[in-house]
């Protein structure tokens, strides 16, 4: 059985822009997998999804979805995919039920089948009572449910979700996460983009971290977390003072420290400095680190142990926070 998605050396350059929006990306998504593209805004995630869903033409490279080339076999690709977009693009001229049944009709689902499927989806997603209203009367969370239902109306093999929970309230977000997992358990392959680490960690079996149009790493969440040397880190924030100079070296020489990274002047005030100290046992270093800082005459603002999360992995790889 072939993979659900195969992307090879994909490049997309938009006219009038310097640099490539997607810059030589390759990855595969296996059938039945939830795969995450994780990265900050502007990393190239949405463009990658655009290529895979046939709305963006690749500049070079190739991509196959469900065994069909996205550039040359668009009809076959479109037949097999569903897209849950970043923004509400529901047809405002139609009633909610019609949005579902017409979507299925576009995809050639026979009438009896599409009416039955619309019935059950509307009921399960709690939309049945309001199925004859137009979408303008719906809240954001409700509209999202309609988009979920619409995506499921034509038996897709691969579902694309572009930052699906971006503008949702916490309850709707949880609701969608459960739905995504339930669909995956039924065998649907899912590719989702997000800049929410928690979301990626929770849902995805494998993750590719993207930045500036490139994939930095691509692995299971567990393996990605092992990228952080020693597994965890200590974050220290101090107020700026003369003792700051040389502090990094002093921290580095502490026993058990694997690597020290200066995070620049982050923190609450402008005149602070922050460091990230990677170690096998970061918790045990709290004492020595505090001593090193106070010994240099510095005032500590904050010190905390960071367990390995995807966010930590991202910061480790790029040296900056995700948002």
């Amino acid at each position: 059985m072939t993979d659900a998605i195969t992307v090879k050396n994909l490049v997309k350059t938009f006219p009038k822009s310097n640099g490539n929006a997607v810059d030589g990306v390759s990855f595969t998504v296996r059938r039945g997998e939830i795969f995450g593209l994780l990265g900050p805004n502007g990393a190239g995630k949405t463009t990658t999804i655009g290529v895979l869903t046939t709305t963006v033409r690749p500049t070079s490279g190739s991509a196959e979805v469900a065994g069909h080339d996205v550039a040359h076999d668009q009809i076959r690709v479109k037949q097999r995919i569903a897209v849950l977009p970043q923004m509400n693009n529901l047809d405002r001229s139609l009633r909610v039920r019609e949005i579902l049944t017409f979507h299925a009709a576009y995809h050639g689902v026979p009438k009896r089948q599409r009416e039955a499927l619309a019935d059950s989806l509307l009921k399960e997603l709690g939309l049945f009572e309001r199925q004859n209203e137009k979408i303008a009367r719906y809240s954001g969370g409700m509209a999202q449910r309609v988009m979920v239902a619409r995506a499921l109306m034509h038996e897709p093999e691969v579902l694309f979700l572009d930052e699906p929970t971006n503008n949702l309230d916490p309850q709707s977000r949880l609701f969608l996460w459960e739905r995504i997992q339930a669909l995956n358990e039924r065998g649907l392959t899912i590719l989702l983009t997000t800049h929410d680490m928690d979301e990626a960690d929770r849902l995805c079996q494998r993750i590719a971290i993207m930045d500036h149009g490139k994939i930095l790493v691509n692995d299971t969440t567990a393996e990605l977390k092992k990228l952080i040397p020693g597994g965890n880190a200590l974050e220290l924030q101090v107020e700026m003072g003369s003792g700051v100079e040389g502090l990094e070296n002093r921290l580095d020489s502490l026993p058990g420290v694997i690597k020290v990274e200066s995070m620049g002047s982050s923190g609450d005030g402008p005149d602070g400095a922050a460091y990230r100290i990677y170690a096998a046992e970061a918790g045990a270093l709290v004492g020595p680190v505090v001593q090193a800082a106070t010994g240099a005459g510095l005032v500590i603002r904050d010190i905390s142990v960071k367990n390995a999360t995807l966010e930590e992995v991202f910061i480790y790889l790029t040296g900056r926070h995700l948002r």
Binding site: L94, Y106, E155
Partner: protein, 282 residues
């Protein structure tokens, strides 16, 4: 978790339908969607398309000749112009306004673009639907004119085939112009566009006067040839106006009319389609 029951038919072996069948199915469903949406606002549509011609026919076809300010028989020359104007405008509006919404911020067209059909067919369906909408509006003028003009209603019946063709060509002209406007003009400028385009279009399109009568204002007569509405009006005049006293009523040569309209439709469709593809695929 109760959510495990989520519907969506299981991913089974897919029925292999030919791509052609898939595309035809999709176009048909999209046209059906347009039909449902249009049928739901049919009253609005008729009001929008009929109010202006109703007053034009009444004032210019009935009142002015009645008080001696227009020649008797003017109504017969005016009616083809009113049919062509109404058909053209209804077709333009029927394509432009939905297209601006479709391509606008919310991108409501996405669902149709992701249907299993070539993207150009989505645009072609819009043009086809706009054509029929324009032709329908043009056809609606006839019963209305019969009521308003009464005994002055006069249409020759020996060129019905040509009349049908001209009504359809008028619709197609409007629909392709509509696609061009809808893909070029941004939503915030659309009402300005209507004012800038429609007023000159209406008054230089030989709607209220036959082209041949302009021979004494030669420069204006030549200018009107740049307006597609001129060819629609003249073609309809050819198909509708009875010849008086054994003399054929002089219009633009019907072969020129048809050729010009076909070229115009082709050119607008080509340009509109290119713009459309540019807007929906990056």
């Amino acid at each position: 978790m109760s959510t495990h029951s989520l519907s969506a038919a299981p991913v089974t072996a897919r029925r292999e339908v030919s791509q052609f069948r898939l595309a035809i199915n999709a176009v048909r469903a999209i046209a059906q969607r347009d039909l449902v949406v249009t049928a739901r606002e049919i009253v609005q549509f008729l009001l929008q398309a009929m109010i202006q011609p109703l007053f034009f026919l009444f004032i210019f076809g009935k009142v002015l000749p009645g008080i001696g300010l227009a020649a008797h028989g003017f109504a017969a020359l005016l009616l083809p112009g009113i049919v062509s104007l109404s058909g053209l405008l209804a077709a333009i509006q029927g394509v432009t306004l939905p297209l601006v919404l479709d391509l606008g911020f919310a991108r409501e067209i996405d669902d149709r673009l992701l249907a299993p059909l070539p993207v150009w067919m989505v645009a072609a369906e819009k043009v086809l639907f706009g054509t029929l909408r324009g032709a329908f509006a043009g056809a609606c003028i006839f019963p209305m004119a019969l009521v308003i003009l009464g005994p002055d209603f006069s249409v020759r019946t020996d060129r019905i085939g040509m009349l049908v063709l001209m009504v359809l060509l008028t619709g197609a002209t409007g629909a392709t112009i509509g696609m061009l406007i809808g893909t070029i003009v941004r939503a915030e400028f659309i009402s300005l566009m209507f004012a800038l385009i429609f007023t000159p279009l209406i008054f230089t399109g030989c709607t209220y006067y036959p082209w041949a009568a302009l021979e004494h204002i030669r420069w204006f007569q030549i200018l009107t040839l740049a307006n597609p509405l001129t060819y629609c009006s003249e073609g309809l005049r050819y198909a509708m106006v009875k010849s008086g006293g054994g003399m054929a009523f002089p219009t633009l040569d019907i072969r020129v009319v048809i050729a010009a309209l076909l070229v115009g439709i082709g050119a607008c469709f080509y340009l509109g389609l290119r713009m459309f593809l540019k807007r929906v695929i990056s």
